[in-house]
């Protein structure tokens, strides 16, 4: 796609890390089921099989979802506005006219991936967020497109 910018590899790693934590939280359910099944000799085998399939599906989906979402995610900023394409099964093309932007917020990640940040474009309705871009890229985007309007270098 012409003019669209892809995220850095570290964005994929960040997404995988976050999804892994969520995955661990979800795995609590099958673990509890396995512990309960240990005391039920009649259905133990069946519950073991179901839990194994559940765990396998969760892990596979986490990895595939993170990878494909990363592959699809791209954005473009020009004189007219901001465009973001994101999503895997439920793909979304977001268009934000430039003159409707009221404020820009940059939020740095402070845990593990310190070189990543989110840029939030505040408007009168729902905010538009460019996620997981590197600090250098964020500064470059802000300098190129919004210097003197919302952004002053060296702040």
């Amino acid at each position: 796609m012409n003019g669209y910018i892809k995220n850095d590899k570290s964005a994929l790693n960040y997404r995988l890390t976050v999804m892994s934590f969520l995955c661990l939280l979800l795995l609590i359910v099958p673990v509890i089921l396995i512990i309960i099944a240990h005391n039920l000799s009649a259905f133990a085998g069946l519950i073991y099989i179901i839990c194994s399939i559940f765990i396998l599906v969760i892990i596979t989906f986490t990895i595939i979802n993170a990878y494909i979402s990363y592959k699809i995610y791209c954005y473009r900023i020009d004189d007219k506005g901001i465009e973001i394409i994101r999503g895997f099964i439920y793909k979304k093309h977001i268009y934000q006219p430039r003159n409707k932007i009221k404020q820009i917020i940059k939020i740095n990640k402070k845990i593990i991936y310190k070189n990543l940040c989110d840029i939030i474009f505040v408007n009168d309705a729902y905010n538009v967020i460019i996620r997981n871009i590197t600090l250098e890229k964020a500064d470059e985007i802000l300098k190129e497109n919004f210097e003197g309007v919302y952004y002053n270098e060296g702040v």
């Binding site: 793909k91 093309h93 977001i94 268009y95 006219p97 309705a125």
Partner: protein
């Protein structure tokens, strides 16, 4: 500078509501605990009311101890002092509503809602101060003299249509619910199913009757005035509301009719404003259906004549095939899974197909210089007029089926919280053109 103190009786209304809610809850708990309603004694009912009264008194005392608000109105701003002091400039004020309920009127209080750029402020002032407060408000939302418009006087027709709609809705609901209730009763002989269904029917019937009566009362108290770029409306008897709105702050205008009102050539208008997404500001400024001339007369005050008369266009290559595929594929999949031994379920596809064909016939769109016009609906057809200047963000959603058919589902975000218009399915190339036009216009 004028100064108004928030009335100390502001908590009375909440206390009354809490009294009823707590009493009902206490009675409900009591009712579910005993086996038969015959065993509930008067003492238990009194105990429920006592619990409700106790809770409401405690709430009232706690609420009454809240620090009092002081509202100061200067020449160009309104200052509200409570635990912290905030000033709102007149130029940021978007709309103003005043509400008095049956309870508030007894203690002489008016509830005032002010919609600003970012939030809605609510405070209570004395009834005697109301006129003085309204006079100190800026001219752009200042109330006018209300006159009853004769074009809205088709009361009998309105009531007949309301009654027909309410009855049909009730019948549809009954037909949908009755088989489920009967099947549950057939499977289990538990008495609770009958009890619950009886309560459900009673509540529904009660709700429909209340709706009907409130519409009837509302009509007699309804006054509106559209002039000088502002809309002023007052309505209601038990709960009296007054709306003061500047036309500039309207983000979308809905012009609709349903399957019954279409027979009588009656229409309804709904306005979307910046704060309406929060549910604090009313959208139903015109609660009655009106004849076409009256409706067009109101619309002409809100949007340009060319926009109202603009014909709807359907893209040349638009066919019903994509929408059939989009809707029928998942339905077919579900049916294929659920059909075990009977093909009668396939008959269900006929009404779905009819729905799609009719929806396709009703749909249309057009883009004028300042407005985007959209029409959609099946039984109730709605035409939406959106000022292009109010469009904040546009989203195109593409599911897997949509991607195969090169189509998108469009969502238009307007200025204001949760102000979203669902634009329906359209070709990706049409969506791109729409985005391009927004760019050129903005």
């Amino acid at each position: 500078m004028k100064e108004f103190k928030q009335s100390p009786y502001k908590y009375i209304e909440e206390s009354v509501l809490i009294f009823f809610a707590a009493s009902f809850f206490a009675f409900f708990v009591n009712y579910t605990l005993v086996d038969s309603i015959d065993r509930i004694t008067l003492l238990e009912i009194l105990a429920s009311l006592g619990i409700g009264f106790g809770i409401s008194v405690i709430f009232g005392i706690i609420s009454g101890f809240n620090k009092q608000k002081i509202i100061k109105v200067t020449d160009n701003e309104i200052i509200i002092s409570a635990k912290k002091t905030t000033a709102y400039k007149f130029e940021d004020l978007k709309a103003l509503d005043t509400v008095t309920t049956f309870v508030l009127r007894r203690v002489g209080i008016v509830k005032v809602k002010i919609e600003t750029e970012h939030r809605c402020i609510i405070f209570y002032i004395q009834k005697t101060d109301e006129q003085s407060f309204l006079n100190s408000m800026p001219e752009k939302i200042l109330p006018s003299n209300f006159e009853k418009d004769k074009s809205l006087s088709n009361l009998k027709l309105n009531l007949i249509i309301n009654l027909i709609t309410v009855t049909i809705n009730f019948l549809i609901f009954s037909v949908c619910i009755l088989p489920a209730v009967l099947s549950l009763v057939a499977k289990s002989s538990v008495d609770i199913v009958w009890r619950l269904s009886a309560i459900l029917y009673f509540l529904l019937l009660f709700w429909e009757i209340i709706l009907f009566i409130t519409r009837y009362i509302k009509y007699y108290r309804y006054r509106y005035n559209i002039s000088g770029g502002k809309i002023n409306i007052t309505c209601g008897k038990l709960i009296k509301k007054s709306f003061y709105l500047n036309i500039e702050n309207i983000t979308a205008v809905y012009f609709s009719n349903n399957y019954i009102s279409r027979l009588f050539n009656l229409y309804k208008i709904k306005l979307l404003t910046r704060g309406s997404g929060k549910g604090l500001i009313e959208t139903n400024y015109f609660p009655f259906m009106m004849n076409k001339e009256a409706a067009i007369g109101i619309l002409e005050n809100l949007i340009p004549k060319e926009v109202i008369k603009a014909p709807l266009i359907r893209p040349k290559k638009a066919t019903i095939f994509p929408s059939l595929v989009i809707w029928l594929l998942p339905v077919c999949f579900l049916l294929a899974v659920s059909i075990i031994g009977s093909f009668l379920f396939l008959l269900l596809l006929i009404p779905i197909a009819l729905f799609l064909i009719q929806t396709f016939k009703n749909s249309g769109r057009n883009e004028t210089v300042d407005y985007y016009i959209l029409q959609k609906g099946f039984l109730s057809i709605t035409r939406i007029f959106i000022p292009v200047a109010k469009i904040e963000r546009v989203d195109a959603i593409m599911t897997v089926t949509c991607r195969v058919l090169k189509m998108t589902y469009m969502e238009i975000y307007l200025s204001g919280y949760r102000a979203v218009v669902f634009g329906g399915y359209l070709y990706k190339c049409d969506f791109d053109n729409f985005v391009k036009n927004i760019n050129e216009l903005s």
